[in-house]
Assembly symmetry: C2
Homo-oligomer: 346 residues x 2
DNA sequence: CCGATTTACTAAAACGGTTTAGGCGATCGT
DNA sequence: ACGATCGCCTAAACCGTTTTAGTAAATCGG
């Protein structure tokens, strides 16, 4: 009925619990004959060490956690996390680690953290002074911050969000667009600030626009989903003040804008230029293919995992320089052809 | 330096370990004054119960595992798993559970299973007689099978793969296509069989084709990634025996075929019709939008999680009927216009 | 042939919680 | 005034491993 324990194996094989433990973890400390016998008995009984007991005793669970600040159903609607996990996964498999997804439970990320039996955490998009990270510090779990801000207490993996955003805005401006719209992310869970990443992107957009002396952009709030992008498009000004270029903060939102615009009769990019952010794989297949800011997501995952594993081994690690972003120009952006521009051209 | 334990809190508050435990798990068993004091001390010391110790003692870890038969980097390249996790995630958050990803470690799924401290498993695409499931049974961990075959020992969640596949094939045949190609999945980890799902889809394609009396299709092996679909297209016959319609086993592979075909100068759907499987969200945005067999992936995840949670509570559960699939016709399929057909028409 | 190693194994102490079975005053009913 | 009940708290057992410290027998060098 009940689970077979190490004691069962020990008594069945006529040895001590220690011997059984050695058979699995320290075989060279046992005589050949007993080793064989113990292993055989264990096999027959179908013995498997209890993972929690093992974790308690060894102070290591063989798992690393991904701290996710939003609900799984919203965050997995964006391919970003899939890509990141591909990178994390490579390193995890290399080091025999499994990956635990830790979203807020009952809205509390801290509660979820306590419940999670992990050897280290990858934190996604949390500000370094988030209270959830305070909990981690107190417990003393090694942590690597991804998409955060430089922190004295944890290594941080970032990309050059600001530079990418500037390049995107400059691209649109260079194409002659003067009436721009920015899709701003809704406030994050901290309820007062947005995520550090979103802040940097927004700042990049604004800086490039200000430097070019272009009119201030129209801002509209949108989440990172396709649906959010679509409804953001709906709330954009129409007619004379209609933006001719929109800067999104994710590819998903950009795709939402594109499809909503097309459904409303606008042509992309002829009537409306749209640029995304991230360069998830799907961006290359959309109609038209999306112009977007590329960030190396898989590489980011690999790097974060590598750093975390170092830290878990006790080695100190420094935050690497932000990874490069680059503008990839596809089919969703084109020269502005709005009235103002046409008049000037003549 | 070391972690603060329940004993530390107990002695600091001048009570027994039991009292501290009660303060958190059984507050009504403590007097008001002591309760406050213990909670206060715990807060000051930054006490957090050790998850592994808790799991060992309570025989429950608050985690369910997803048994993934392939490497994370390959399986997350397909949005299918993202969708499924969205469904699983809803129920998990509702029941305060976290989600552990369990891929093979050193190629061994069984080893990974042993390491994982979970209260239940969702198995993806494993045949009911897979040896990994044998390990689970021996340990006695509740398990729900997704994309498998009916099993006497575990509840199973499936969709009507066969029916969907038949509809897809019938659709192409109805459009006049006579030279078809099927993208078969490569053999699964069991090395001898494919996954049950792939078998059912293949059988569905074959049955519809045979019933229609259409020439046997050309089969070519392809994984579930875009790249695999693209290289599968490359190995298709050219010229006179060129297929005019291809049936893929996933949307990703279908998208790969479409892009490769377009790159080679063919027009989709005019020169080549392609139908996918799954209806992941991206299928709606591709160029052209993909005709595909829809399966309710998120719903499938929700259902699987619901069943597993029931089983974890000890309630017996029966396998539900397969979920419905449906053909959604978009822009990647059109009437055949190959030479044979044009001749007949005149 | 005798003390010093080495080999092969074990008893018991962690690891850090929860839970069972009571203990001990204070209050209750009568 | 006295046994029963109740409210509050605790000692000790338990969950299932790993690991430390050590023992008895076998092997060694000289």
């Amino acid at each position: 009925m009940s689970r077979v324990t190490i004691a069962d194996v020990a008594s069945a094989a006529g040895v001590s619990k220690t011997a059984v433990s050695f058979a699995f973890n320290n075989p060279e400390r046992l005589g050949h004959a007993t080793l064989e016998r113990v292993l055989g008995v264990a096999q027959d009984l179908g013995y498997t060490p209890h993972p929690a007991a093992r974790a308690l005793s060894m102070r290591r669970s063989g798992t690393i956690g991904i701290l996710i600040p939003q609900r799984l159903s919203t965050v997995f609607a964006n391919p970003f996390l899939s890509e990141l996990i591909q990178g994390l996964g490579e390193l995890c498999e290399e080091h025999d680690l499994t990956l635990l997804l830790v979203p807020p439970l009952n809205g509390s990320l801290e509660g979820a953290i306590r419940q999670a039996s992990v050897d280290g955490f990858i934190s996604l998009g949390l500000s370094p002074d988030d209270s959830a990270l305070g909990v981690l510090d107190r417990i003393g779990i090694p942590t690597v911050l991804v998409d955060s801000e430089d922190s004295p207490s944890h290594p941080t993996v970032n990309v050059d969000d600001g530079g990418g955003a500037r390049a995107a805005a400059a691209h649109l401006i260079g194409l002659g667009h003067r009436q721009l719209a920015i899709l701003v992310l809704p406030p994050a869970r901290s309820q007062v600030h947005s995520t550090p990443t979103a802040e940097r992107r927004l700042a990049g957009y604004r800086a490039a626009i200000a430097e070019a002396g272009v009119p201030a952009p129209h801002s509209v709030i949108a989440g990172i989903s396709v649906a959010a992008g679509a409804s953001a498009f709906a709330s954009l000004p129409k007619g004379k003040r209609r933006p001719t270029g929109v800067l999104a903060m994710s590819d998903m939102a950009a795709i939402g804008v594109v499809t909503a615009a097309q459904a409303s009769g606008l042509r992309v990019p002829d009537d409306l230029s749209v640029v995304g952010f991230d360069d998830v794989p799907a961006s290359a297949w959309t109609n038209p293919p999306l112009t977007t800011v590329r960030q190396p997501i898989v590489e980011k995952g690999r790097l974060a995992a590598r750093l975390l594993i170092q830290r878990m081994k006790g080695k100190p690690v420094a935050s690497p320089a932000p990874l490069k972003t680059s503008l990839v120009i596809r089919g969703s952006t084109a020269p502005a052809t709005n009235l103002d521009l046409r008049i000037k051209r003549r």
